[in-house]
């Protein structure tokens, strides 16, 4: 499976600020995904990020709040903008459609634990 890293692993931020989370993969992947896991809850997809095209956002998530970049096939960033305490969550990136293995299985990074005060 792909090796995925995220930076930062955790952060504590003040209300009204923004944080950019990085996701790096050790192989070229067609699709990358960003999920949110709120405390005690399961995972919810924020958006799908394909290289060379605009990210596709799920219902309830907007680009102004969660801008995403996907500059190449191994890297993506998610920014959480104008944060409020309700944004406190674990943010996870995942990868799928590995070019070599052509699989639908998604593999997840270790997550970024965000606390907003």
């Amino acid at each position: 499976s792909a090796v995925i890293s995220q930076k930062p692993s955790r952060d504590i931020c003040q209300r009204g600020t923004s944080l950019t989370i990085q996701c790096q993969v050790d192989s070229q992947v067609t699709m990358m995904f960003w999920y949110r896991q709120q405390p005690g809850q399961s995972l919810t997809l924020i958006a799908t990020a394909n290289q060379g095209s605009e990210a596709t956002y799920e219902s309830g998530f907007v680009i102004d709040k969660f801008p995403i970049s996907r500059p190449n096939l191994t890297f993506s960033t998610l920014t959480v903008s104008n944060m409020s305490p309700e944004d406190s969550s674990i943010y996870l990136c995942s990868v799928g459609r590995d070019r070599e293995r052509n699989t639908d299985t998604q593999y997840f990074g270790p997550g970024t634990r965000l606390t907003v005060l």
Partner: protein
């Protein structure tokens, strides 16, 4: 809308006490059911993918099965290191390039020595 329901919410087992976790789903056009294991403070770790009813997959003490309405994750003779939250997810694409996974709430398994 896709629905994925996992039961029970929590399961406490004695070491060696086999049991099963359930994942029931309501989707239109299943294109994969996925099981993950998540340890506290970590990202989900992939376990199995099942595509069609009757399919089974095994890995060490874990065995996943699939029917047209539900999937089971059987844990045989569990050990304390099997303690984790087990997540079930389904893929039911609404368009050709839709790879969204819909997750259940998970079952937290605690195995006591």
């Amino acid at each position: 809308e896709d629905q994925v329901t996992q039961s029970p919410e929590a399961l406490r087992l004695q070491e060696g006490e086999s049991s099963s976790l359930n994942c029931s789903y309501t989707v239109s056009g299943l294109r994969g059911l996925f099981w993950y294991r998540q340890d506290p403070g970590k990202g989900p770790e992939f376990l199995f993918t099942l595509y069609s009813a009757g399919e089974e997959k095994e890995k060490e003490r874990l065995k996943a099965t699939l029917t047209k309405k539900e999937s089971f994750l059987h844990i045989t003779a569990p050990k304390p290191e099997d303690s984790a939250t087990y997540l079930c997810a389904v893929r039911s694409p609404k368009r050709s390039n839709d790879y969204k996974l819909s997750f259940g709430a998970g079952t937290t398994v605690t195995v006591r020595a």
